[in-house]
Amino acid sequence: MRSFSYERATSPGDAAAAAVGIANAKFIAGGTNLLDLMKLEIETPAHLIDVNDLALDRIDETADGGLRIGALVRNTDLAADRRVRRGYGVLSRALLAGASGQLRNKATTAGNLLQRTRCPYFYDTNLPCNKRTPGSGCAAIGGFSRQHAVVGASDACIATHPSDMAVAMRALDAVVETVRPDGTTRNIPIAELHRLPDDSPEIETALQPGELITSVTLPKPIGGTQAYRKVRDRASYAFALVSVAAIVQPDGSGRVALGGVAHKPWRIEAAEAELPDGAKAVTARLFADAKPTRDNAYKLPLAERTLTAVLREARA
């Protein structure tokens, strides 16, 4: 770990401004991801801006009947919130499928969205990784890629985004609210928050330097049967091999987002038109451009089968 300076910001605007005032600054929220990466010198910020005092830890109802989730709301609190459980079951379930109780107590909404990949090569600074060291190559390609992306990957990077929460938020059409260093705010639909790797896998989101997430809003509840199914090698405390967030309406229409398959939560709205025809038709659209490796080709049938199971249960 490199030495760094530290400050506690007191307002979102100040935090954002401070982040561009000092070179190589980073926000720290729960620290459950960032600190691990700093210890291994995968992240080497010179300055940390602690955002825990920004009073962004509330969940409020919005004027249009949705919810505004503060960036600092802990995963545990969000999962347990009555309004979330009632109107956004998929989100609550996704959160509870992630990490462990201890981690969820610390992990924040914004931190969860911005957590970095679990590609094992990303974690070993001796090995090539374009995401960690741009231009060094990608050790996962041709290496151990059982958990990597099957779709939307590039020749530069085949990593996945590991968040469960983000997959549910994608299905819910969440919107990320931010403040920029110049004080202006903007809304980013979650579909546009995470990028595909292309040839710059080190750039993971649409956020600009110093841009701070202040909250995430959820539109008015859309009802339906909401499921989150996470498939993994052990029963808890493991990242998804494949996960499915689904909202299925009584008329058979619905929404589907997948985790564990791409550099971002994977949802193609057009594919949802196929829902009445069943999982196979949907996944055929979702994975039309899939390029799995030998190690992770199993994810394609697995995703289809998991979606089949989710739809069967949702319609039962």
């Binding site: 010198e41 050790a139 059982r146 498939v231 029963a235 808890s236 405390y237």
Partner: protein, 734 residues
């Protein structure tokens, strides 16, 4: 005390303290966080500095150049030790690859430097400034690719490379039912909670290391040898160990680098191996490829059994003796085993819980299940039909005790085995395909010399000192129970001090030999102390009774403390064994029963319930022994379903080198788990009539899981771990 003949009635048989499910006497220290583990021994010596280990970034090759300038100039740095300035180093008897590498690199994350600084953070930051230019060599990292260029090893333990009885080839060819299958087991890591950690301090030319090590005498000896200093100048202290599983049997880099760092910095230094280093820097259970051939009559009688195993290791490393149990487990007139070793440049393979036995049983006990399938015979019945009460290679040699059949029968009854549908893929519970599997558990009992010193003071308090270790197993408690039973005092009157090379040399903890041998050593020392006391009191030592804190003979009775008199009375002795281990085959047995559910859609495999029935001699403390078996069963589930140190064959390392990538079971993986012991005493094993327990529990578990998965789905997976991707294709989607 020499143990030459089967034990007769002795004070242990009173079972006033021995055999009771006593809670750990050191338990409160652990649950309150006050048991002093190596890295946290802040008070043993002042002025401790911190060492941070730099591991090799390549799997094979050499260091071209090292630039230490930036690291040396970093804040707080006191010293940096590399092979260049460490001085001449020897190598421990039990180490294959050198613990400090350079310029030659033997394996990935081999230690190449330790950076010592005033704080941990300074040491870590500076370590990351060490610049090393490597010259990559061509390494061999792929066992399967090396399978044809192996050598015939000369194993130090576990038997010869080749064994043969009768005529395997003809008998197998002639057998009406044949099985010929190949299985693979991956490299596995010990993944214990506490990393290897040491604090080293020099006092002149004398070195003390507070460390975490299972085998104190081996460690001290190999430390002296590596540093080239007299053995008596090295003291190792290791009273608490946060798990070892074989990973802490040997001197490892933390001890050496703490000592070298302390010498260079001129002050005590502590070093813990960073978690990411633990998988590639230390030892692991090596991967195997195993071919098993069994020929049988139609009635199930085995006529030919052959087991071949291939594993790899660094130069001077040993093979995994996966075939060893096949030589003893089932009857059959024609037999062969073969062990071959490939030269690999992966980290050093070495002992992990039930070395050889665990990996061998993973394959053999699937093979038996497959044979049962072919024969259409119940797998419990098939095992019973091929039971043997003698060593099949040397029929004059009997097992001292062998209750495999009883374990199988008892387990089958308790588990509800009769409800198993022999036809795979038939039982459904909601989304789950349900199946049951069975496997034998089988691990040998090893006897080895073990010494202890016992002291009695005026208050009647008994203190035991031995360099035996407690690696979470319960050694403190069973040793206290032994001394209490022998001296006729309550448990509270016994103090046990372990893990110090100043104490008499014990058997140490490993190979499930610790419990039986270390307590037998304490038995020997207590027997001597009883004689000393009796003599002092003028009693006939054969008649003296030690009970309720007093010594009695005829109508005289003296409180123990009074017998000690003004000074303490002490006695030291060791248990040493005669030929009983040669005349008899001493082993422990069990049966594992497992029920799994396999999700019909996703092929996720979850254990629903498991039961082990074990027969392992006298159980000195049923609570501690049960914990050992439960832990071992859990580890076996890990081996079955998830544990896999994945080799990157290009870069030559285990890629998933942290606990997020190397998964071991969590509570939710095994909702119902139980085990029972059958009554057994084995007077041939030792005066304690006990045997090993802790490794028996892992032997066979993985195969029982694999067999249950087969019963649930009809899919036979022969490549561990059994992950869902290996089942998916074969499962029909509903």
């Amino acid at each position: 005390m020499r143990f030459e003949h089967p034990a007769t009635f002795n004070p242990i048989d009173q079972l006033k303290v021995i055999g009771h499910p006593t809670s750990r006497i050191e338990g409160p220290l652990k649950t309150t966080g006050t048991a002093p583990y190596a890295y946290e021994r802040h008070n043993v010596v002042a002025n401790q500095a911190y060492g941070y280990v730099v591991g090799s970034a390549i799997g094979k090759g050499r260091i071209g150049a090292i630039d230490l300038d930036a690291a040396k100039a970093a804040p707080g740095v006191l010293a940096i030790v590399t092979a260049d300035n460490a001085g001449k180093l020897g190598k421990g008897e039990r180490n294959a690859a050198p613990l400090l590498g350079g310029p030659e690199i033997a394996h990935y994350h081999q230690a190449v430097a330790v950076v010592v600084a005033g704080t941990f953070e300074q040491a870590r930051a500076a370590a990351q400034l060490v610049r090393i230019d490597y010259v990559k060599g061509d390494g061999k990292f792929d066992l399967a690719a090396e399978r044809d260029s192996v050598s015939v090893p000369d194993p130090k333990i576990g038997g010869p490379a080749d064994t043969a009885v009768g005529d395997f080839a003809s008998a197998f060819a002639a057998a009406p039912v044949q099985l010929d299958a190949t299985y693979t087991t991956p490299d596995q890591g010990h993944a214990m909670m506490e990393p290897h950690a040491s604090i080293a301090a020099w006092d002149g030319d004398k070195l003390t290391v507070w460390t975490s090590n299972q085998m104190i005498a081996w460690g001290a000896e190999d430390m002296a040898k590596t540093l080239g200093i007299p053995r008596e100048n090295v003291r190792l202290v290791s009273p608490y160990i946060g798990g070892g599983f074989g990973g802490k049997l040997f001197l490892r880099a933390d001890v050496l680098l703490a000592a070298l760092g302390a010498r260079a910095a001129g002050r005590p230094v502590k070093v813990a191996l960073q978690r990411p280093l633990m998988f590639n820097n230390t030892t692991h259970r090596p991967a195997t490829i195993q071919r098993i051939r069994i020929g049988a009559e139609r009635d199930g009688k085995i006529t030919a059994i052959g087991h071949e195993s291939w594993s790899g290791n660094v130069s001077e490393g040993e093979p995994d003796m996966a075939v060893s149990q096949t030589r003893l487990l089932y009857a059959g007139a024609n037999r062969m085993t073969a062990t071959r070793l490939a030269a690999l440049d992966l980290p050093e393979g070495n002992a992990m819980r039930a070395p050889g036995e665990a990996s061998g049983m993973m394959a053999l006990e699937i093979a038996i299940d497959e044979l049962a399938d072919k024969l259409g015979i119940d797998p419990v019945a098939l095992r019973i039909a091929n039971d043997t009460q003698v060593d099949p290679e040397h029929p004059q040699r009997h097992f001292s005790q062998r209750q495999l059949v009883q374990c199988l029968n008892e387990g089958a009854a308790r588990f509800g085995w009769s409800k198993r549908n022999a036809k795979p893929g038939q039982v459904r519970d909601g989304r789950w395909l349900v199946g049951m599997g069975v496997a034998a558990a089988f691990r040998n009992n090893l006897v080895t010399k073990s010494a202890a010193r016992v002291r009695l003071d005026q208050q009647g308090r008994v203190t035991v000192e031995t360099d035996m270790t407690d690696i979470g197993t319960g050694s403190y408690t069973i040793i206290a129970q032994t001394a209490a039973e022998m001296m006729g005092v309550p448990l509270e009157k016994v103090t046990v001090r372990l893990g110090d090379s100043d104490f008499p040399v014990s058997c140490g903890s490993g190979g499930q030999w610790g419990g039986n041998n270390s307590t037998a050593g304490v038995y020997a020392a207590c027997t001597k102390l009883r004689e000393t006391i009796a003599q002092k009191l003028g009693f006939n030592s054969a008649e003296a009774l030690f009970a309720d804190g007093v010594v009695r003979s005829g109508n005289r009775s003296v409180p123990l403390g009074q017998a000690a008199g003004a000074g303490d009375l002490a006695a030291e002795d060791a248990i040493e064994y005669g030929d009983l281990a040669k005349t008899y085959q001493q082993s422990t047995f069990g049966a594992h029963f497992v029920e799994v559910g396999v999700d019909a859609d996703t092929a996720e495999i979850r254990v629903r319930r498991m039961l082990a029935v074990c027969a392992a001699g006298r159980i000195l403390n049923p609570k501690a022994a049960r914990s050992q078996v439960i832990g071992a069963m859990t580890m076996g589930v890990g081996a079955a379903l998830m544990e896999d140190l994945v080799v990157d064959k290009r870069h030559g390392l285990f890629v998933n080198h942290d606990l997020a990538g190397y998964e071991v079971p969590v509570h939710a993986d095994i909702p119902h788990q139980d085990m029972i012991f059958l009554d057994e005493t084995d007077p041939i094993s030792s005066p304690m009539k006990a045997k090993g327990v802790a490794e028996l529990g892992i032997c066979g578990v993985a195969a029982a899981v694999a067999n249950a998965v087969h019963n649930a789905t009809g899919v036979r997976v022969r490549e561990y771990p059994i992950t869902l991707d290996k089942l998916l294709e074969a499962l029909d989607i509903d």
